[in-house]
Structure formats: C-alpha cells, structure tokens
C-alpha cells in the first residue's frame, strides 16, 4: 500500500525534495570514469572473508589512547594502529618494498569519532613523523564541541618506551611498554603503537601473501598524482591505501572502524626521506614539565571476565550485542572510573568534576594526581576488551552473548582457544569458565 496520500502536505519538505529531484546532472559519466570502472572490475580481487578468519588484535597504545580519551577528552587516534589486512598481488608488493626502503616520513593525520549518531563528535588533526627503524612522533590537536586539547606522543619501539606530552598542562607521561612489546611478539601479527610502522607492516604482510585478501580499487588521481588503490578489511575495520603509481609510496591512507565503531582516520600529504631532527623523538620530558611514569601490563582472562560483568551491569543486566571498542564499553568504563575522577576533581577543584567546566584545563598537579590514580584503574577496566581484541585467528574466538542476561545458567557467551592450548576456554553467562574440546565447542549455540 502506497501511503503517500495520507502524509500531510509540507511545503518546505516537498519543495526541497522537488529541488533535489530536479537538480541538474552534469554530462557524464566521462569516458575516463567508465574506463577506470572497467579496469577496476577486471582487476578486482574481491574475496569475502569468513568471520572466523578475521583478526582480533589490539595494540598496546590503545590503553594510552583510551586513558587519554577518558582523562582529557581526546579521540581514539592512536588506537587505530592495529588495523590489519593485505593482499597478495604484485602491485601491493611494490608498495611494501617502497615503504621498507624509507629513512623517514612525515604526514598529516585527520580523525573523526562519531558516537550516538553524531551527538558525541570528536575530531583530531595533527602531524605524524617517522624515523627508521622504529621511532614515531605524533602531534595531535583534538576538538570537541566544548574543548580543544593538544598532545604529543613519541614512541621508540626498539627501546620499549614512549612519552606522552600535554603542553597545556605541562604534563609528561613516560610509558614503559617493554612488557607489552614482549606480549606483542608472541603474536605473528604483533600490534605496534606506531601508526606509520603499522601501515608498513600491513602492506608487508599483504604483499608477502601472509595477510588477508585485499581489493584492488584501480587507478585514480590523488592530489594531482596518478595513484593505485587497495582496500583491506578485517574485524577491526577497513584500510584504503592509495599509492603513487610511479614510486609505489603511499599518498593517502584511510582507516575506518568496525570494532572501533564510528572512527575514521585519514593520513595524507606524505613527504619522504626528510632530514628530521632527532630531538623530535627524545623520550626525556621537557624542562618545566611534571611527569608520571606508567608501566603497561598485558591483559589476562580475568580482565575479560571483569569487563563482561561491568558492561552487562551497565547495560541493565544484559550482555551487549557486539563486543567491540564502542560506546557501550566506553560508557561502562566511564561509569566505573567516574567515582575516582570525582574524588580527584573534588580534591583539586571542589565539587565540580572534570567534565563540569568545559574549556578549563586541569592543572599540572591535578593531571599528575589523576594519572597516578586513574591509570591503573583504567588499565584494569579496559584490559578485558583489549584482551579480546588481541585474540588472533589462531585463538578462534567467538562471542555469542548478545541479548543474554547476566547470570543465565548454562548459557555460553564467549569461547576461545588460548595460544598453544588444545582445549577451549568457554565463558558462561554467570561468568564461570569451563574447558572444552574442539568437538564440544562445535555444538555450542550462538553465532560463529
């Protein structure tokens, strides 16, 4: 039944609709566009990826980014370093070779995070610098409707150290990531906190055939250069990479979220083999900065169980439809840490909490106090989702808790096989854990 007749006449909407319907269409598509589409169709290597092969992994920097997000309202820019995928074609191999030969690079970064249908909107923009073999500096400016924050993150992978600088508060957080680095090495697809290194790794994996299939997007002009495009996909999201058709160096990289819902990052305006000042990558806090050292510990299964309980209790007793770094998880974490945030805020600025005065920057002393108190708490609360996202295809992880009530007896909600183990660990809705053989696991209900 077509019910358009019963709609009240609305002049403005009708006029706007009519205007759009009658909007002039320029001549096209051009012969070039058609040729490009035909080439893309012919070269497309599109293979659907089974869910069980999708990679679930997470980088150590997510913790830092999440902590930063919670404490100063920044986006999840750094968390994007774990995007995976690849392809097995020759052109992609050329990109890998070009990246491996680089001595240094700089690029622009723009990120936007949209949650609650755009009601919670955070944008970040910044510059990234890479110095071979493993140093990275990222300068971020983050803007919400209420606030703007600036932050610098420096990592030296080989040294297992990082430094986060907040210039507004004159605060430095020194990060010991050595244990996380050891943990990452255990995984064949060990995540890196370095954005540029991650792109290099993805391309390297893809071109060597060890990564997942990628689509060939054909050719396109980017910033005046003929470019060749590739798109990779896994459980974390999509990466679209456009490389210079002549040099095979990336011109534009776009990352969009799946497990990081509502997040989109674009890397562009790449410059290569610049003479970069080594002091840009210094891990010493600048003079005049107060500092706090934080040790990062790899998450364990107990963190996963704690997180599942926390998210379910925050969701009125129901487990979430999807286990991802999304609004449900972040809201639950925020609620869990809020009492401590309030205590610190009350101590430093009276009754108002940290979010109560938009635009006001916390003092250096408050930042140090906040970091000291909250970092262990945030790590504890976030450990579970990070543990889950670090699971690889080898771990054969499945989540089936959507719509299940916390405490439901005999209802499996999540199972995975620990690395090197013969049996699976099966988590039930009452958060009890049992071990099962692969044969037994096959009979479990729920999506795979």
């Amino acid at each position: 039944v077509e019910d358009r007749q019963d709609e009240p006449v609305d002049d403005l909407l009708e006029r706007a609709t009519e205007a759009l319907r009658r909007a002039p269409v320029p001549q096209g598509p051009s012969a070039e566009a058609i040729a490009r589409v035909m080439e893309t169709i012919q070269t497309a290597d599109v293979v659907p990826q089974p869910v069980q092969e999708r990679v679930r992994k997470m980088t150590r920097i997510v913790k830092i980014a999440i902590a930063a997000t919670i404490l100063v309202g920044l986006g999840v820019l750094a968390s994007w370093t774990m995007i995976g995928g690849g392809s097995g074609n020759i052109a992609f191999a050329a990109v890998a070779e070009a990246l491996d030969q680089l001595r240094s690079a700089s690029f622009d970064i723009n990120t936007e995070t949209n949650w609650d249908a755009g009601k919670r909107h955070v944008t970040t923009s910044g510059k990234g610098y890479f110095l071979a073999p493993s140093k990275q500096r990222t300068e971020i400016s983050s803007t919400t409707a209420k606030n703007t924050s600036k932050m610098v993150m420096i990592f030296d992978q080989e040294a297992g150290k990082g430094l986060m600088l907040m210039s507004d508060q004159k605060f430095a957080m020194a990060m010991d990531i050595a244990k996380m680095k050891e943990n990452a090495k255990k995984s064949a697809k060990g995540a890196s906190p370095d954005l540029f290194e991650t792109v290099r790794r993805l391309v390297r994996e893809g071109s060597s055939g060890t990564g997942e299939k990628a689509e060939n997007l054909g050719k396109k002009e980017i910033d005046g250069h003929p470019a060749v495009g590739f798109r990779t996909h896994n459980a974390m999201g999509d990466m679209t990479l456009w490389a210079d058709a002549q040099t095979a160096r990336p011109i534009r990289v776009e990352l969009t979220g799946e497990m990081f819902e509502g997040v989109r990052m674009v890397m562009s305006h790449f410059r290569y083999n610049l003479a970069l000042d080594p002091s840009l990558f210094s891990l010493e806090p600048p003079a005049g900065y107060s500092s706090q050292t934080v040790n990062f510990q790899p998450p364990v299964e107990a963190d996963l169980l704690r997180m599942l309980r926390m998210v379910a209790e925050h969701g009125k007793g129901m487990f979430p439809a999807k286990l991802a770094m999304n609004k449900e998880v972040m809201d639950a974490v925020m609620a869990a840490v809020q009492p401590e945030v309030n205590k610190i805020a009350a101590k430093h600025i009276g009754k108002a909490n940290l979010k109560a005065k938009p635009g006001e920057q916390p003092s250096s002393a408050m930042m140090a106090d906040t970091m000291k108190t909250l970092m262990p708490l945030v790590q504890k609360q976030m450990g579970g989702i990070i543990f889950y996202m670090q699971l690889t295809p080898e771990n054969d992880a499945h989540y089936a808790g959507g719509g299940v009530k916390l405490g439901t007896p005999d209802r499996p909600i999540l199972w995975y096989r620990p690395s090197g183990a013969a049996k699976y660990r099966v988590v039930y809705a009452d958060l009890g854990v049992k071990e099962m053989s692969a044969e037994e696991v096959k009979k479990l209900p729920g999506p795979r």
Partner: protein, 171 residues
C-alpha cells in the same frame, strides 16, 4: 558470466545521475560511480542479480549518502569552500535557481543527519520513485516497514529543515 561492459553502458547513466543529484558535485559522484560498480561486482559474485536497475540505484544511493554524511562532518570542522566542480545550473531564472539549489543543499544536509536506512528509503522513494515493494525487496523489509521508516524519515526531515529555516531566519 556477467558482461560488465554492457552493464556499465546500460546503467552507467542511471548510477551517475543518482549519485550526482544526491552528492551535488562531479568529484564525489565520480567516486560513488566507481564504488557502486565495485560493490555490485562483490554482490554478483555472491548471488544472482535479477534486477540490475534496482540494485545499482540502491547501491548508488547508499554510497552517495555515505559521501553526504562524510561531507557534512567535514563541513562542521572546516570553513565552507566553493566547489569548482559543483553541478552546473540550468538556464532558468537566477533567483529561482539559487533558491532551488539552496533547498536541495539543505535537504542533502538534513539527509546526512538521518539514520542510514531511513535516508535511503526516503531517497529511493521520493527522489528515485521506487515503490514500497521494490524498496522492500531491495532492503529486505516488509512494505509496512518501508512505510513506517519513510514516515519517520519525513517527520525528521521536516524537523531538520524547520531548524535550518529558523536558524536562517534568525540570521
């Protein structure tokens, strides 16, 4: 085996026009054009396509709405720029044309605020003229569900257009 040359020749104009109307400029339309056919390739490898016209119109609309949403987010944080590749105007009264162009752009902005499914149903029904049944088949919804979503879309669009209108008047 699908003869893509014939498909592109036969439906290229349809995809182009659908994208152009929605995104309002040739550059974005060109990208949508490519993405639409690329996605059609994927779908055709999974299942037989019975109605290319409906499929391509659906895909072109969805990709164009993606562009609109991305553009609106971009616009929120960067100053408006004149698009040199914006669609050329028709030969008409300049004032009428400017008003129509502005109305169309306001609707594009409002569409970007709608939930994806509602926006698509509105476009397929009200811009492309597909029936509820055709939309339902494409989106795997009942005709009633299509009607409900369309009703909601119209309601929300009215609100959004009215908000913009009020803001404009206040300015």
């Amino acid at each position: 085996v699908t003869d893509w040359k014939i498909i592109v020749e036969q439906y290229g104009g349809l995809v182009w026009a659908t994208a152009c109307r929605l995104v309002g400029n040739g550059v974005d339309a060109s990208d949508c054009f490519q993405e639409t056919f690329l996605e059609a390739v994927k779908i055709s490898r999974k299942e037989p396509v019975r109605d290319w016209s409906a499929l391509l119109r659906h895909l072109a609309t969805a990709r164009s709405l993606d562009r609109l949403r991305a553009r609106c987010r971009q616009r929120e944080r960067t100053p408006a720029m004149t698009d040199p590749d914006a669609v050329a105007g028709r030969e008409a009264d300049p004032a009428d044309e400017a008003q129509a162009s502005e109305l169309a752009e306001r609707l594009r902005t409002a569409l970007a605020e709608l939930p994806a499914e509602q926006a698509e149903i509105f476009c397929l029904s009200c811009i492309n003229g597909l029936s509820y049944r055709e939309i339902g088949e494409r989106l795997r919804l009942s005709t009633n569900a299509v009607g409900v979503q369309l009703h909601r879309a119209r309601g929300r669009l009215r609100e959004l257009l009215a908000t913009v209108d009020t803001t404009t008047n206040e300015d």
